[in-house]
């Protein structure tokens, strides 16, 4: 019968397990930071190249260039820090691997394989193995401490660099709205803004104005957003000041008139029949092209309140009848042209219809009524009158 020994064999310190850690994973982690470092270096070069814009000078350009140069430099520094982390992890992997090999040697001494044919370890063998176990343990621990300190240094460096990324951005684009509220400052002052690192972006101030619109023949008061017009509407060159006119180039039209025209066009587009919608679309397209439309669908009454006619579209220089028919509009056009109650300013009259026939057009043109079958031609004619 084989019995258990009276006294258990001594177990050397550190023999229970090898120094913990996976060198391959440590190297993989190091490669991850190394790849990030390489990518950062490439990105830094890219940012540095974008940091200079040919021909752009002044305080704003300088602020941009300085910031971009700072970003590129920080990216370079961060890349170097990450490369340092990669090296620390790689060295840890190497040292840990050595420590684990040492531990394996020691383990082989105290636990000889039955197949190896080696005799049982002697007391000296135990002593040697104990020293190897201790060395392996110390090597693994020491390598871990060194790597930990190096990684902590890299972490601190990255946080310091990150703090710089949080620094306020160069002014002024983010605060442009406060720079020239309502376009109050004259355009001539723009060079003063630029030379002080400020982009003179104007803002548009909208106010709500109560206007009367006609809904089913009844006046209805509505609030319409209108730009708050400044003291002047043109610059020294006679060009319209930006942000003080709307995109439809109708700055000469009083706000209440413009609101009424807009409301009527919108209503016609929404609820009108085919002819009315075509009329409204035409008016809106003309406005977008810069024609100053001052009336849409206005009725003209005689002194007894009887309707004489209605004017489809009125600009500040012409009256336009719009039709979807290939003919007609003769009497109405003559009324527009010749009746001083309808056309007291004697504005020229035009008929616009995409399908208007040449035969019908001859009859009108003989009476000095212009006829257009193309919206482009109509707009050109109206803009010519406007100029």
């Amino acid at each position: 019968m084989i019995g258990l020994p009276d006294v258990a064999a001594p177990v050397p310190v550190g023999a229970q397990s090898s120094p913990p850690g996976n060198p391959d994973q440590l190297r993989a982690s190091g490669r991850a930071f190394g790849a990030a470092a390489a990518a950062l270096a490439a990105q830094a070069a890219w940012v540095r190249r974008c940091g200079t814009v040919d021909g752009w000078v002044g305080a704003t350009a300088s602020a941009y260039q300085a910031r971009m140069a700072g970003i590129a430099q920080r990216m370079d520094q961060a890349g170097q820090a990450m490369q340092h982390a990669a090296a620390a992890l790689g060295e840890l992997a190497d040292r840990l691997e050595e420590a684990q090999l040492l531990w394996a040697r020691a383990s082989g001494i105290v636990h000889p394989s039955a197949l190896s044919g080696l005799p049982c370890p002697s007391g000296d063998d135990f002593g040697r193995a104990t020293r190897l176990f201790a060395t392996a343990r110390a090597e693994g621990d020491g390598a871990g401490r060194v790597a930990r300190d190096r990684l902590a240094g890299v972490t601190a460096a990255l946080y310091a660099l990150r703090a710089q990324a949080k620094a306020p951005l160069p002014r002024p684009p983010a605060g442009a709205a406060a720079i020239n509220p309502c376009g109050a400052f004259p355009q001539q002052a723009s060079s003063v803004f630029w030379n002080n690192g400020i982009i003179p972006l104007d803002t548009v101030c909208i106010v709500y104005a109560a206007t009367l619109v006609e809904v089913d023949g009844e006046p209805v008061s509505v609030l319409e957003p209108v730009p708050l017009i400044g003291s002047g509407t043109t610059d020294t060159k006679g060009k319209p000041k930006r942000n003080q006119v709307d995109p439809e180039n109708d700055e000469a039209i009083p706000a209440e008139v413009k609101s009424l025209v807009q409301a009527r066009i919108r209503r016609a587009q929404a609820v009108g029949d085919e002819g009315i919608r075509f009329q409204a679309d035409t008016a809106q397209n003309l406005r977008v092209r810069g024609v100053r439309v001052i009336g849409f669908g206005n009725k003209v009454f005689d002194k007894f309140g009887k309707t004489i006619t209605d004017i489809d579209i009125e600009t500040d220089h012409a009256l336009i009848e719009v039709t979807t028919s290939p003919s007609g509009k003769f009497d109405q056009s003559l009324a527009l042209l010749k009746d001083p109650r309808v056309n007291p300013a004697g504005k020229p009259v035009a008929v616009f219809g995409l399908k208007y026939s040449p035969t019908a057009a001859i009859k009108l043109t003989s009476e000095d009524v212009e006829v257009f079958t193309s919206e482009d031609d109509l707009a050109s004619w109206l803009l010519g009158l406007q100029r």
Binding site: R74, L169, P173
Partner: protein
């Protein structure tokens, strides 16, 4: 005064490139997070477990904030281009 001479279209074009740089930096961040996230914390070394975790967080934070900073500079260029057009009276 010669304060503004840059072509607004050029500024816009560079703004686009800078925006791409911002997006690329985000790619670096995601790649790093993916690679390190696939590994055991500290690769099984107890003494560096916290250190590697802190490092990954710091790196991600740096890359993220720098990405935002570069994107903001792209916006800056766009605004500068818009302002240059304003100054020229162009639409």
């Amino acid at each position: 005064m010669g304060a503004v001479q840059a072509d607004p279209d050029l500024l816009d074009a560079i703004a686009y490139i800078v925006k791409q740089a911002s997006a690329s930096l985000d790619g670096v961040r995601l790649d790093l997070a993916g690679r390190t996230g696939a590994l055991a914390p500290g690769a099984g070394v107890p003494s560096i477990r916290a250190a590697t975790s802190d490092l990954a967080v710091a790196a991600a934070a740096f890359l993220s904030d720098t990405r935002d900073e570069i994107a903001a500079m792209s916006e800056y260029l766009n605004l500068a281009a818009g302002a240059a057009r304003e100054a020229d009276g162009a639409p």
